[in-house]
């Protein structure tokens, strides 16, 4: 039982002189690992050819793309649900135990999925990567957030931006790593397509890599504040000195306004991300640009890569900038600039202005990433530090909703336009105008955010109780 006690919150309180700059790498170790989820698509073709051994000619018994798409959907839904459900538990037990739970679930999910691939049983894969791994994603995503905010009250946006940037970066590591592992195991004849062995290896790698975060993370002592720290008098209208519990936060209009803010921004961003490759190929095809001048599949993959980079950079840049500008202003920029760019993109597509088109998409995606990383700091401003991790977990249900809503809207509108005979950039026109309209809703919701009524604040000191840190 000695090992279990090492995970307790009481054993993670930092002593005097602990360097707080050790906390962001601890958080990054978790987010870089679970960010793998965004790279799951690299397994779709190999998983769909486990029987035939040839992705271009799958056998009748092979899993279909639709069946395989469900794996990621389950994982993302479980991410939102577990973040919402386990948020209060996390606040009670502290970040170390939560990170360990995340590592065991995420790594264990890979092990179970490997068994499912080995036995060619899709339900085991759904349960492994989707359910167990998805719970690991949710707990891992929120586990370092409130700790970072407590260590960096003077730079909340910078701190959460650094961690949540890792979620974007995780896919960049996982994608080439997974391809290299599958190539290796395939060449050594370790099972069909090398997928099961790759899952097993990734499970071990991530379980070990996440241990760095587990054993490095510390919570600050209750009376700790950074040297020379004075609360920023600017933007103070929205920054509370009180503390609102996760349950009370749900009773405030501010929580639901932020839920709409995140939902609209993420739905719009997913619309671009989901369709990025076909979007740029169809809008700038050989037919439109001239033979040999259109965007090829390889160039479209480069476009997707560029969007991933801006997604990552935006998470850090915008969240850090929000420390100076204030969260409400930063979100107003996401929406104001977003509306302009979404409305402009169809025109850029029609006029075949590829460079401007790519530039606009990159800025949009940077703000999509920024909306994720700025949210914890916004919540902390409004509701205090008390249970910000749990409140953040509940807010992430907006992400799960957007994950379903975004692709649905995009596919429906795109297919409708195509059915009307539109092709190329014109087929996506209503998609972008609709997304711009969604952002108007988000802008209005953000403008309506005011300081939380003091009646929702916890009475008395909150740091002394077990759930208070």
């Amino acid at each position: 039982m000695a090992e279990a006690s090492l995970l307790d919150r009481s054993r993670t309180v930092a002593g005097p002189g602990y360097n707080r700059w050790l906390i962001p790498p601890a958080a990054l170790a978790i987010h870089l690992a679970i960010g793998q989820a965004y790279a799951f698509s690299v397994f779709k073709k190999p998983l769909g050819a486990l029987i035939s051994g040839d992705p271009s000619a799958p056998a009748a018994a092979d899993w279909t793309p639709t069946q395989l798409g469900v794996i990621f959907s389950i994982a993302i839904v479980l991410l939102g649900l577990s973040a919402a459900i386990f948020g209060k538990w996390l606040e009670r037990v502290g970040p170390r135990k939560a990170m360990m739970a995340s590592a065991l679930c995420f790594g264990g999910g890979f092990f179970i999925a490997a068994l499912g691939v080995h036995l060619h049983n899709l339900w085991i894969v759904y349960f492994g990567y989707g359910v167990v791994g998805g719970i690991g994603l949710g707990i891992g995503y929120i586990s370092p957030v409130s700790t970072l905010i407590k260590w960096f009250p003077d730079r909340r946006g910078v701190a959460t931006g650094m961690a949540i940037m890792g979620f974007g970066g995780g896919a960049m590591i996982a994608s080439p790593l997974s391809v290299a592992l599958m190539d290796h195991f395939k060449s050594t004849g370790t099972g069909p397509m090398g997928v099961a062995a790759t899952f097993l290896t990734l499970g071990i790698i991530y379980l070990l890599f996440m241990q760095f975060g587990v054993w490095t993370i510390r919570v600050p002592a209750d009376d700790w504040v950074p040297e020379n720290y004075v609360p920023n008098p600017q933007h103070s209208a929205l920054i509370t000195s009180g503390n609102v519990s996760a349950d009370n936060a749900l009773k405030t209009p501010q929580f639901w306004l932020l839920w709409v803010v995140l939902l609209t921004n993420v739905t719009a961003g997913i619309g671009v991300l989901e369709t990025a490759s076909p979007l740029v190929q169809e809008s700038f095809s050989d037919a439109a640009m001239g033979v040999g001048r259109g965007v090829t599949a390889a160039a479209a993959a480069g476009f997707v890569g560029l969007l991933s980079l801006f997604n990552l950079l935006g998470r850090f840049f915008w969240s850090s900038a929000s420390d100076k500008m204030g969260r409400k202003t930063t979100y107003a920029i996401y929406f104001g600039l977003g509306i302009l760019l979404y409305a402009l993109i169809p025109t850029l597509g029609r006029n075949l202005q590829l460079a401007l088109y790519v530039g606009a998409a990159c800025v949009i995606i940077s703000m999509y990433g920024g909306s994720f990383s700025t949210a914890p700091a916004y919540l902390s401003d409004l509701f205090g530090k008390y249970q910000v991790g749990a409140i953040h977990g509940r807010l992430l249900t907006a992400w799960s909703t957007a994950g379903v809503l975004g692709p649905l809207i995009v596919n429906f509108l795109h297919e409708s336009r195509k059915a009307q005979g539109f092709t190329g950039a014109a087929a996506y026109q209503t998609v972008f105008y609709t997304m711009a309209g969604l952002l108007v809703v988000g802008l209005l919701a953000n403008l309506a955010v005011t300081a939380v009524n003091e009646k929702y604040n916890e009475k008395g000191p909150v740091d002394a109780e077990p759930g208070g840190h």
């Binding site: 005097p16 002189g17 602990y18 360097n19 707080r20 700059w21 050790l22 790498p25 601890a26 990054l28 170790a29 870089l32 890792g166 970066g169 995780g170 896919a171 960049m172 590591i173 996982a174 994608s175 080439p176 760095f212 490095t216 002592a221 009376d223 700790w224 504040v225 950074p226 040297e227 020379n228 720290y229 004075v230 609360p231 965007v295 390889a298 160039a299 479209a300 993959a301 480069g302 476009f303 890569g305 560029l306 991933s308 980079l309 990552l312 790519v358």
Partner: protein, 47 residues
């Protein structure tokens, strides 16, 4: 009238500079590798 905020001071240490460097290297090296791989792929857009 609010009282002016007076913060108790807990100075950061500079003694664990090497630990901080190693910690950042542990997460930074794989991240930079991933970013470089993505950047190389992104260059295809401009070829």
């Amino acid at each position: 009238m609010n009282k002016p905020f007076v913060a108790p001071v807990a100075p950061e240490t500079t003694s664990s500079g090497a630990a901080v460097f190693l910690a950042w290297a542990f997460v930074g090296i794989p991240l930079l590798w991933g970013v470089s791989q993505t950047f190389i792929k992104a260059l295809d857009l401009f070829r």
